[in-house]
Each structure stands twice: as C-alpha cells, then as structure tokens.
C-alpha cells in the first residue's frame, strides 16, 4: 500500500527543443500538483535540436513513479531518467553569492570561501561576489555560513546531473 515517505529525486529529460516544450513539462507539474524544487534547461545538441531539462522534485515513491510516467508521455520527450534510482550519478549546481561587509567579517568570509573553493568573481572594498560550484548541500552549507557575515543576495542555477561511468543517459 502507499507510504507517506517523501523522497527527493533528480530527473533528466531529453526533449526536442521546440516552442513550448518547457511549458509542457512545467505545466504537467503544476497541473498535477507535483513539486519542482529546481529546474535547469538548455539546448545540448544544436544539430539535433535537443535540450536537456533537469528537475529536482519530491514526493512519495508512488508519486515519483507517476511523475516519470507522465513526463514520458509528453510527445516531444525522447527519454526520462531518474538519477536517484536508475544509475549512480553526480549532481552539481553553481551559485553566485554576494556578501557585503568590512573588517573581520570580510576576512572571515574570504577564509570560508577559500575552504569551500568558492572564488571571488567581483570585489569592491565593501563586498564580494563568490562563485561556488558543488552539490546543493554544499551550497546550502556555504550560504548558512555567509548568513552572519553579511549575505546580501543569492543566485543559483539549479541542478545539472549526469551519470557516472562511460555510458550516456
């Protein structure tokens, strides 16, 4: 029978890059009441006009199974892969994080950024913009640490994911 256990899954969806395809996928999620925690999309093969959409979503195992099946029947969809169950995968996200402050806080921000391998991509006497790449958890952690040090603004790309090993999705 159904369980109420909520899981977070990352789906990769290979689609024809045609007008409205993103709206079809997003509309499916909103229309059926599914969550979207993050979404990224870009053309990946201009010669084939294919785009790849990566969606992080959450739900019970039953709902996640439905999400996958519902995406699969959208006409311009080539493939759907659930990275959380199908194969081992890597998920990465990039974020730009603006921190403003002076004195000890500013030094501390730079020190932590260094530990996280975030690099400053814009610097003034009173602010930094850090670029950080990593798992969503790592970025969350970094954001938490910047909070007391003058965090001003965050821009995150959402998750991109790919399988480990030599095979394609």
């Amino acid at each position: 029978m159904s369980t109420n256990r909520i899981e977070r899954h990352t789906f990769a969806i290979l689609v024809d890059n045609e007008a409205g395809v993103l709206a079809r996928i997003v509309g499916l999620f909103s229309g059926r009441g599914y969550n979207i925690e993050s979404l990224t999309v870009a053309e990946i093969d201009p010669s084939q006009h294919t785009s790849r959409i990566t969606i992080v979503t959450s739900g019970t195992p039953e709902i996640l199974e439905q999400i996958r099946a519902q995406i699969g029947r959208v006409v311009p969809v080539h493939r759907v892969v659930d990275w959380t169950v199908d194969k081992p995968s890597i998920a990465r996200e990039m974020a730009l994080i603006k921190v403003a402050g002076t004195g000890e806080k500013r030094v501390e921000a730079l020190r932590i950024a260094d530990a996280f391998r975030a690099r400053p991509v814009d610097t003034t006497h009173t602010s930094f913009v850090f670029e950080i790449t990593g798992s969503p958890d790592k970025i969350n952690q970094f954001v938490d640490l910047m909070q007391p040090l003058g965090l001003v603004e965050i821009s995150r790309t959402g998750v991109a994911a790919i399988s480990r090993g030599p095979d394609p999705m």
Binding site: D16, G20, H78
Partner: protein, 593 residues
C-alpha cells in the same frame, strides 16, 4: 522502383494544404464555424465542397462534441474547424472531454497573422497555451514549411497509442502563404513511438494467473472499444474460452454483449450489485483498457482487497496511478486479448471448473438481489420505465445512443443493453452536460440511415440546444429523448443524500415549452406524461423523418440506484431509498464529488 512510393511534392497555399491533408487522411466530414482567422481555409473548403462535407454548428463546443460523436461511432478521426480567439476558447470543453475519454480528434484553429501574435490583436488568444493541458499535443504553425509535417503528425498522434485530441493553430498569413506539400507517409516522428503489441512473457504470466483463478473477473473499459471492433470480438472469444464473468466501465459498454449471461452489467458508483461485489471479492482481476477511475474504485484502500490485479493499458502512466497492480501489461487492449487467447489455447489451459462453478453460484446470489428493480408508485412515468420502453422499442433497429450527463445517463448505462461496440457515446471522464445533442449530430452524419437517440435531461439539453438548428440545416434527424424531472436530478440526489435535503438551486423554476421550442427550431416536438401513452409516443418519434425533441415528463424525486456513496467501498452499496438512512457519508467522503 514503384512510382507510388515517391512522395509527390506540390506547391499550394497553407489553406489548400489543410484541405489536401484532410483528404489524404480519409476525412469526409468536418464540423466547424467560420470567422476572420480561418477565412482562407473556408475559401479552400468552398472549392472542395464535393469531397468534404462541412457541418455548420451553432457553437464551437458543438463542433468538437460532434467530431467526438463521429469518431466514437466510426472509429475514425473526428475533425473540427474553428476560428481564433473565442472560436478556440469555445472548443476547450470539447478538447478536455476528448482528452479524458481518449477520443481521436483533430481541431484546426485559425490564429491572427504571425506578425500580430503577442499584440493583443482582435480575436487573438494564446490558443496553444490555453489548450496545452487539454490536448494530447498541439502546435502553433509559424512557418509554412512545417505545415504539411504538422498536419500528418497531428493525425498520427490523435489516432495511435492512447487516442486523444490535438490542436493545430494556424495563423492567417500561413494559410495564405505558398509552400510545398508532402504526402503523409513521408513523415516519421522523432520521439512519438506508441506501444502496441504486448510483451509475451507478461501475457504468459497473466494467462497462468487466470488459469489458476478461483474467483476471476474481467474488468473491461474504453480501451477495448478504442482498440477497434476486432478487440470486442476477441474479448467475446476470451470470455467464452475461460467462462469468467465480465463487467465494464461506462466507457466500455458494448464491447461485450449485455444480453449474455456472463455479463454482470456496469460496475462503479452506479454499477450493479453483482458487478461491484464480484470486483470486491474476486481473486484475479483482469483489467483490460481501463484506468481505475474514482467512479469505478470507490474507496481506494477498500478496493478489491484480496485480488491479484492484471492491468492492460496502452498508456504506461495509467499503471499504478490509482491502484497498485501486480502484473502490468503495456499494450493495445485488442492485441493483448488476442495474445491471451493464443497462449491459453497453446498451453491448453483449463479454468478451475469446480471453483468457477462456486463463484458463479455466489454471483447468482448477488444477481438475485435484482438491484436495478424500481417501485412503480403513483401514476406518472418512472424514468427507469421510460428507458426500458425506449430500449424495447429500439433494440431491434440500427440504433446509436448518446447521452448528456446526470441521472438519465446512469439510467441509460444501467438499463439500455448494448450488444456491439461504438453504439454508446457518453461523456464519461469529464462529465460534460451538453455533450449529447452535438455528439448525436456527429453520429447521425456518419450513419445517415440509423436511428440516433440522445438520452437527455432537461438541464443538460439547455446547454447546447442551439444545435437543433444544425440538425435542421444539415438534415440530421436525431431524436432527443428528455427525461424531464424539472430538477438537476443527480445534484438534487446528492443534496438529498449528503446535504440534508437542502435543494440549493437545483430546481428549474422556469423551463421552455420544449414542444414549442422544437417547433420553433423546425424540429418536431412530442410531450408525454402518461405511462400508457409512452409506447405510441416513442414509436411516433422513431418514425418521424425529422429531428425530434421528446419531452418525457418523469417522476421528479426518483433517485438513481444502486449507488456507492462517495468515500465508500464496493460492498457498501445503497440499493434503494430505504437504505440511505443506514449509510452515513463520512466527512472524507463528502470531500469527493
């Protein structure tokens, strides 16, 4: 090389391409309503009047429902043609209806010229945006070079796999532009590859499970109808071979002959006692082209708790959607049934005769409840009596039935005995009042000499009654048989059962004089309010060569039973008014509709 294998390429306008594609896909009839943004297509249609019959409806909703009725009664694709803006938005109800009932239709809509899109132009709306969630797929044609491909893809997507409605939105400048038309067959879709044949291992497992069953049941649905008449033939063979009982959803009526003793009647909320109890108590359920709709399952956690469930459906998203199943088979229902027969014969399976005999004994005890019986009290016409007489007087004719939505629809589904597929057209999933009249027009257009009856309620009929004018103009002698109880009967029944008899806005204080209305439209009106006059009046309706509106005045307070109250299980049915006090609808049940 065979010369016919080379696709010929001709230069023509976008509008001409539309007409050419319709012809190439075997379309002979379309339903539509002109307007500014489809004028070029209507102009091309003028030139093709000998090959394409166009029926001018009175509202675009009617055009789409008529296309649905046409599709359902023929197995072909229905086509509607509407203009931009309000033309497209009026078509939306029909599209949503066709999506939920898996009906193949192609709707062509005009759009403002491409350079005007996004400027809030006159009669502009975002048609692909609005229709995206109520179509299987849709397109906005931005380049004449894409039009032939899209036209052919549209027919392929609408009619194959799980059928459904598609929309092609064609800007006016594209209709005028010249381009090169390529014939169908020269186009293959990059991503759309619907399943068809069943996996033979899964079929073998299913058949083994069936052979071991002690209390089996076939639960069949619209997927069997959509799989074509051969699927219904195969279903009959499989039932004969196994000796199992068979029930069907509202959408599947006619796939199995209702006169046969293996037939348990429809299941679900207003299904028969025997069908619902057999579903509840079975040990192997064989779902064929069904989707475990909430009207069918009742309370999910009490749905057929002890059974192994086999589920055949062509749409993978239907598997485990509402009910977890044990053996999913993704395939065309007809193909799966055929494969089951083959395996059953090959392996020389025999049903467990002794267990099956006990199962049938149990079913006979349920049948003995005679759950569709009703009490004739008072002197008026009982709606059940009206359906029974209509059935008796039309059963030996070439009859097609459409319905509206409500009590009359359920009485028709319970009592009218369908022997063949494609004879029963009703709005099952969306529950669209106003479906029946235009659907009947579509059926009648495809079957000029047949008797086409819309079993209706006085409420539903008023939603699309302007289509009577279409019936007259196109000489489509449909019969609209209204069970007139002056109430929105099904809603009133729920108010009685769930809301303490507070009949909030369900009584029609004012109704048109339907006889005069029929006459005003150029149809024939007949009224009947006495049981003893009913047969003669129905015969008069049948014999009338014109469209008829039959105002059958019936008992106002009659309820439709049996009924599974919302939130209840199959074995908690109400059989008559006396039962209802014993049934408390739970708060959770009241949330359901």
């Amino acid at each position: 090389m065979d010369k016919t294998m080379i696709p010929s390429i001709k230069e023509m306008t976008g509008a001409e391409m539309v007409i050419q594609a319709l012809k190439d896909h075997g379309v002979e009839h379309i339903f539509g309503y002109p307007g500014g943004a489809v004028l070029p297509i209507y102009d091309a249609l003028f030139a093709a009047a000998n090959e394409l019959v166009h029926v001018l409806v009175r509202h675009e909703q009617g055009a789409v429902h008529a296309a649905e009725g046409y599709a359902r009664s023929t197995g072909k694709c229905g086509v509607a043609l509407v203009t931009s803006g309000p033309g497209a938005t009026n078509a939306v109800t029909g599209l949503a209806d066709a999506l939920l009932d898996s009906i193949p239709i192609v709707v062509l809509s005009g759009q403002v010229a491409t350079h005007l899109i996004g400027t809030d132009a006159f009669q502009e709306c975002d048609t692909v945006g609005i229709t995206r969630p109520c179509t299987k797929h849709n397109w906005l044609v931005k380049d004449i070079a894409d039009l032939p491909r899209i036209l052919h893809e549209a027919f392929q997507i609408a009619t194959t796999g799980r059928p459904g409605p598609v929309v092609i939105d064609i800007p006016k400048d594209i209709q005028f532009k010249k381009g090169f038309y390529v014939e169908p067959g020269s186009v293959s879709h990059r991503t759309y590859k619907p399943p068809f044949e069943a996996d033979i291992d899964a079929i073998s497992q299913a058949v083994a499970l069936m052979a071991s069953a002690k209390k089996p049941i076939f639960y069949t649905g619209g997927g069997v109808i959509n799989a074509g008449p051969a699927a219904s033939e195969h279903l009959r063979e499989l039932v004969e071979l196994t000796g199992f009982p068979v029930t069907s959803t509202l959408m599947g009526l006619g796939a199995y002959p209702a006169s046969d003793d293996k037939w348990l009647g429809m299941l679900g909320m207003h299904g028969t006692y025997e069908a619902n109890w057999a579903m509840h108590d079975c040990d192997v359920m064989i779902g064929l082209g069904v989707r475990f709709d909430d009207r069918v399952t009742g309370r999910i956690d009490a749905f057929s708790p002890g059974s192994k469930k086999i589920h055949v459906d062509i749409d993978p998203s239907q598997i485990n959607k509402n009910i977890r199943v044990d053996l999913p088979i993704i395939a065309d229902a007809g193909q799966a049934i055929k494969a089951m027969i083959k395996v059953w014969k090959q392996k020389e399976y025999k049903a467990d005769k002794k267990a099956l005999a006990e199962w049938w004994e149990q079913i006979e005890r349920w049948r003995a409840k005679n759950c569709l019986a009703y009490k004739q009290n008072g002197n008026g016409i009982k709606p059940q009596y009206a359906i029974d007489r209509l059935y008796e007087l039309t059963k030996n004719r070439d009859t097609y039935i459409t319905t509206e939505v409500g009590q009359h629809q359920m009485w028709a589904a319970q009592r009218y005995k369908f022997e063949q597929p494609n004879r029963w057209m009703t709005s099952g999933g969306l529950g669209t009042m106003g479906y029946g009249i235009p659907a009947a027009l579509g059926v009648q257009l495809a079957h000029r000499d047949s008797l086409v009856i819309d079993i209706a309620g006085e409420g539903s009929v008023q939603m699309t009654m302007q289509e009577m004018s279409t019936a007259v103009q196109s000489n489509l002698p449909i019969k609209i048989f209204i069970l007139n109880n002056r109430y929105l009967g099904m809603v009133r029944q729920w108010q009685q059962l769930l809301h303490g008899g507070r009949y909030s806005h369900t009584y029609s204080e004012a109704l048109p004089d339907f006889v005069k209305m029929a006459e005003a439209f150029g149809c024939v009106g007949i009224r009947c309010d006495k049981p003893e006059d009913l047969d003669a009046a129905i015969l008069k309706m049948i014999d009338c060569p014109k469209p008829v509106l039959f105002d059958c005045i019936v008992d106002q307070m009659e309820n439709c039973y049996p009924m599974i109250p919302s939130g209840a299980a199959h074995n908690e049915m109400i059989l008559c008014d006396a039962d209802e006090e014993a049934t408390q609808v739970s708060d959770a049940g009241k949330m359901l509709v």
